[in-house]
Amino acid sequence: MNYETYQILWFGLWGLLWAVYFMLDGFDLGAGTLYPFLGKNDKDKRMIINTLGPVWDGNEVWLVTAGGATFAAFPTTYALMFSYLYTPLLIILFALIFRGVAFEFRGKNESKSWKAGWDVAIFLGSFTPALLFGVAFGNIFAGLPIDAEGYHGNLFSLLNGYGIITGLLFVILFITHAALWISIKTTGDLSERAKNLSKKLWNFELVIAVIFLIYTYFATNLYNNYVGQPLWFIVPVITVVALLLIRVYINKSFVFAFFASCITILGVIFTGVIGLFPNLIPSSLDTAYSMTIYNTSSSHYTLKIMTVVVLLFVPIVLLYQIWNYTVFRKPVTEEDLYDPESEAY
């Protein structure tokens, strides 16, 4: 394969890694956001975090891998993206640190204030990344103010209308996703409440998705690629269909509704990524300064090596992660929580 084919392939993989990260950690972040609202008492709260227990860490590695793959395949984009989006990424980082530690440490002490403190960490550590990842991606879709002198934005310039709408879209995608997850993975009253909540949230999800799609037309150039190659419209169409299917399945099969939600999240990311091509981060000032797969990629040789690594190992990773999900496919029970020998959160 020639150099350009590899660059395009890695553009696809770059999008895929982010999409899978949001699909998986999406319900972790969403569950952490819903946590204070659905978790009426300590038992409910423990139920919620124990549904995430065996999987959240493996989900978060998709973020590390998405970051690492960006570094390996598009080092210049990696370097500039992280130095330009310094403050939001720093806040995301702190949030994720506290979220992870909170899951692990909350149950390690019985005092009320100890638990209350970690409860705050779980909520903020989940809601903040959900919102800020959306804001960051919204701004990437729209382009960052980059020219010969570098980057001209800051945290506040990122909080523009389109950035905020994308942020809200991410939040609503994740919390609907999580409401479905919690209702599948718990039983009784908590599951019932999650189910009812998911129906309400879905209405907001639909409204925000529609606003996002319209706003995208005005705020970004994402649709140009679709007009040039109308075949690609299939991706946003599938996404919208999946979004509608969530509502259809909510009354029939929660598992199907959850899978529809997975497809919706993958679809949203890919809808954006296809529109970006061949940019990784477009410049909103002058397209000459856009970071593209052509002007920021690694060498032909490195891309080849990384392709072999990814094709070899990612399927293995998927196999054992799916295995892990099947081991813990059943809802969390009270016995899981209160068994003195269990290591539950």
Partner: protein, 440 residues
């Protein structure tokens, strides 16, 4: 303070904080896996209790190791963008491979291990902890391949047009001798932390005369391991210094504070560098020709002194020198204590040696210090280069980043990490003191 110094301090601080948790993870994962293996082989409940007790401490420690590791990945881009652009073609690959082959393995199977006691068969459960151990140890390999490349760049060409280094030989990068020596050196150092951790906590309970059987067994596993790893580290350390002398002569000269190039160079048991005047304040008790012998395996070999290099190319001497010295002295003490522990255990007088048990408790932090000193030698000793001979640290920093951003993030890290560190140590002590949960 300028941005460069702030960014360097920040990297040092976040990397060192991360490295409080990593060495224990490396060793304890393997030791817990061994304990669980023994449980399955013998069927004795004692080993199950042991596995759970040490496993709990492992998990508390692991949590912080994971989350603080992400900081480093972020920081390459945030503060060191020019470095990342220049080196990303080579440096990014092992980082991405580390995530793909190691991080997924350890985190997925750790989830299965913690929550799977009653959900999977005993064999699958054992398999899970071995996968965690394999994952953590493999992650060390890949990150050290990346770091070794910064110490000793191989398998690359410089692309003048794009202004960056490009990989041309992946095999040379992966099988770099420097990487594998470093890997051995670090694994043994990590295991040393873990064995002294186990011996120290076991000593606490033995002193209190509680759960004696369990902690004697734990101690036994640890002390046997301690003998092997501390003595092996003696040879690997020597091998590492030999490699450094070949590829990083300025680092070697700083490690020994050797100013003048000389043949048959001695090692002074006691000396102290005076950087300003390019000499040592004093040099006492020389062992003739030892430095030439260690560095080149030839007693008469010429060793380059610091004065052979331009001032702008020398690392900070005092810090490199002292860190190296103290690390080496500590490594001898580790061997001594391992032998002593083994001896007392064999003679079955361990429980009566109150002074020794007390010493071991207070000794828990010392191997951690040795690990950090080793990394100070590695990283400070590489200065002024971020990639030895290719890129200066001062040329690696992000252009676009404002001082205020670095100050803000640095302050954030100091506060949050301080808080997390205190909480983590509190929990480790709490659960270490509590002892094993009685099986129902």
């Amino acid at each position: 303070m300028d941005v460069l110094l702030l960014a360097r301090l920040q990297f040092a601080m976040t990397a060192m904080f991360h490295f409080i948790f990593v060495p224990l993870t490396l060793g304890l994962s393997v030791l817990v896996a061994i304990m669980e293996t023994m449980y399955l082989k013998t069927g004795k409940e004692e080993y199950l209790k042991m596995t759970k007790f040490w496993g709990k401490l492992f998990v508390i420690n692991f949590a912080l190791g994971v989350v603080t590791g992400i900081t480093l990945e972020f920081q390459f881009g945030m503060n060191w963008a020019e470095y990342s652009i220049y080196m990303g073609d080579i440096f990014g690959a092992p980082l991405a491979i580390e995530a793909t082959v190691a991080f997924f393995l350890e985190s997925t199977f750790l989830g299965m291990w913690i929550f799977g006691w009653k959900k999977v068969s005993k064999k699958v459960h054992l398999f899970a902890i071995w996968m965690v151990a394999l994952g953590t140890n493999m992650s060390a390999l890949w990150i050290l391949i990346a770091n070794a490349w910064m110490q000793y760049p191989v398998g690359y060409v410089i692309n003048e047009e794009l202004g960056r280094a490009e990989m041309v030989d992946f095999g040379a990068v992966v099988f770099s001798s420097y990487a594998w020596i470093k890997f051995c050196h670090q694994l043994l150092a990590g295991y040393t932390v873990a064995v002294f951790f186990i011996m120290g906590i076991s000593a606490y309970h033995l002193l209190k005369k509680q759960h004696i059987e369990l902690f004697k067994k734990s101690f036994k596993i640890a002390v046997i391991f301690a003998l092997i790893v501390t003595i092996a580290e003696f040879f690997v350390g020597d091998w590492h210094a030999y490699e450094v002398s070949k590829v990083q002569p300025t680092k070697l000269a700083a490690m020994e504070s050797l100013w003048e190039t000389s043949e048959g160079a001695p090692i002074y048991m006691v000396s102290l560098p005076d950087e300003k005047n390019e000499k040592n304040y004093f040099e006492i008790l020389p062992i003739p020709k030892l430095l030439s012998l260690l560095a080149y395996h030839n007693p008469n070999a010429e060793v380059k002194g610091l004065k052979a290099f331009d001032k702008s190319e020398r690392p900070p001497v005092l810090l490199t020198f002292l860190s190296f010295r103290i690390m080496v002295i500590l490594s001898f003490i580790f061997i001594l204590l391992a032998i002593l522990g083994y001896y007392y255990l064999k003679k079955d007088t361990l429980v009566n040696k109150t002074w020794f048990l007390k010493l071991l408790i207070y000794f828990i932090p010392v191997p951690y210090i040795a690990n950090h000193l080793g990394w100070i030698v590695a990283e400070v000793g590489r200065q002024p280069w971020i990639v030895y001979g290719l890129l200066k640290t001062s040329d690696g920093i992000s252009i676009n980043v404002a001082k205020s951003q670095v100050i803000m993030s640095f302050t954030g890290f100091l506060i949050f990490y301080g808080l997390l560190g205190i909480i983590d140590i509190y929990l480790l002590i709490k659960y270490a003191r509590k002892g094993p949960v009685e099986a129902v």
